[in-house]
């Protein structure tokens, strides 16, 4: 076990909303060739058959309204380039523009789905974290579908067969959430939602263990400074624009289209700074920043096959006319692991590195937490048991304090 792991006391996960890897970090490949981003030649056909290349023209807001489709049939089209469910069809990532046309009804506007950020200029927080710590070339959403089922994988290691946004019932009550597992084992765990008007997307646990599990973001900040952070923390951004308690304006910080991406940048910086500015917490915490799914936005990497989790979604549930056996991951998302025990510029290889690929998905989150804090002692799906742990990136060498960046949110 590395010295970094021996010193580890806290794991914090911040899960953002609905942006693909290439959209947010793809431009970094120009300067950092190991990052599996964009060459600028990737393309999709539009509904007129015109070839549309990726373009570095993403803006913080207004380009992705209406919200791009990211429900199961839409993502199926994005991955396979066709709605036909022919046997032996191959994924080609050629259906993004076609699918966005179904929302926009405007050919030119459907091209917006191929836009990506100039990461270093537009996204100073995310791009700095990606290049200062460890970025994953191969972290995929767990399901080629929307938010709720994907977030379920982060909490339970499975979605219990769900591929959509329907009210989420636990079908197998022998699989406990990671929070319940921790509490039952006399460890501590908490979900920090932003505030009450924003609340949580992890609804099922509202019904039980509420005081033990939930707190607000203000409490997260207090817990970081007071050294009272739980063993495991899951942080949720603000999901909607709403008036503040003092009459001010609270902006959504989740980066879900069409919320302002820059506000999310500032929120990520706040979470990082809260840990970074407490020296003892900084040395003993691993922070994972990850997105729940791609939100319908273009990524060039074909999602790989994965270990089924024992459930099958029916053809009616998927909406494609074919069942889904949870044997393929969803589209790739940004994921960054942060700790002073991680060397600058670490790039975790993905599917581009055939013999050395390390594939992660959201079941890696409860899997890693369970392995580290509970010695793997919990009933889990096969999918979670086989999900790769991300803590192996912590080394024996801790970086000096002045070697680790700090963010300053301008007022």
């Amino acid at each position: 076990m590395s010295v970094g792991l021996q010193n580890l006391k806290h794991i914090v996960v911040l899960m953002m909303e609905n942006r693909s890897f290439d959209h947010m970090l793809g431009s970094l490949m120009q300067k950092y060739p190991k990052i599996n981003g964009l060459t600028g030649n990737e393309s999709n056909p539009d509904t007129n058959g015109t070839i549309v290349k990726v373009q570095q023209k993403a803006e913080f807001q207004s380009q992705l309204d209406p919200d791009p489709d990211h429900h199961f049939p839409g993502v199926d089209l994005q991955i396979f380039g066709t709605t036909e469910q022919a046997a032996g069809r191959l994924p080609n990532m050629q259906g993004f523009v076609k699918d966005y046309f179904s929302q926009t009804k405007d050919v030119n506007r459907s091209h917006n789905i191929m836009y990506y950020f100039d990461s270093q200029k537009d996204l100073p927080v995310l791009s700095t974290l990606a290049t200062e710590y460890a970025v994953f070339n191969g972290w995929f959403s767990s399901i080629p579908g929307p938010t709720i089922c994907n977030r379920a994988f982060a909490h339970y290691g499975t979605s219990f067969g769900q591929v959509g946004m329907d009210i989420f019932y636990i079908l197998d009550n022998t699989i406990a959430s990671i929070y319940e597992r921790m509490i039952q084992a006399k460890r501590t765990a908490k979900i920090y939602y932003y505030d009450q008007p924003s609340s949580t997307m992890e609804i099922v646990n509202l019904l039980k263990n509420q005081p033990q599990i939930f707190a607000t973001f203000d409490q997260f900040i207090s817990d970081c400074s007071a050294n009272t952070l739980p063993d495991y923390s899951f942080v949720e951004p603000c999901y909607n624009d709403h008036p503040g308690a003092d009459g001010g304006q609270i902006l959504a910080s989740d980066q879900h289209p069409d919320h302002n991406v820059r506000e999310g940048e500032r929120f990520i910086g706040d979470v990082y700074n809260a840990i970074r500015k407490n020296p003892s917490l900084w040395q003993s915490t691993a922070l994972l920043v990850v997105y729940d799914e791609h939100g319908g936005i273009y990524d060039h990497v074909v999602p790989p096959a994965c270990t089924p989790d024992g459930y099958t979604a029916s053809a009616d549930a998927t909406g494609t006319g074919a069942p889904f056996a949870f044997d393929r991951l969803g589209i790739r998302v940004p994921a960054i692991l942060i700790s002073p025990w991680i060397p600058r510029g670490t790039v975790v290889p993905g599917t581009e590195s055939a013999g050395n690929a390390q594939i992660f998905e959201h079941a890696s989150i409860p899997g890693t937490v369970t392995n580290f804090f509970l010695n793997g002692d919990a009933k889990r799906t096969v999918r979670e048991q086989q999900a790769k742990s991300f803590l192996g990136l912590l080394t024996d060498q801790m970086r000096a304090d002045d070697d680790c960046v700090v963010f300053n949110n301008l007022q």
Binding site: F60, T147, I203, H242, F407
Partner: protein, 82 residues
């Protein structure tokens, strides 16, 4: 030496739009909340339906008070501290 400081620009104040139509995710969140409330409502109704005259013993009252207190604490706005 001091650590490198990265400045993060302020968000455009025009970004604030609480009148933006709620998307699928937020409408789904509200539905999930409603479902969660329904579970609480059923629990509350079960307590309100109990005939007070049926509480004969200290054990009867204790059981009623226990369930009521647990439910009331849930609505007492206690912050969820570690």
């Amino acid at each position: 030496m001091a650590p490198k400081i990265v400045n993060v620009p302020k968000t455009d104040p025009r970004a604030y739009n609480p009148n933006r139509p709620a998307g699928t995710l937020l409408r789904s969140q509200a539905l999930h909340m409603r479902e969660a409330l329904t579970k609480h409502a059923q629990e509350l109704k079960a307590l309100l339906d109990i005939d007070m005259a049926s509480l004969k013993t200290e054990a009867d009252v204790s059981a009623y008070v226990h369930r009521s207190t647990a439910l009331l604490h849930r609505y007492a706005g206690k912050s969820a501290k570690k």
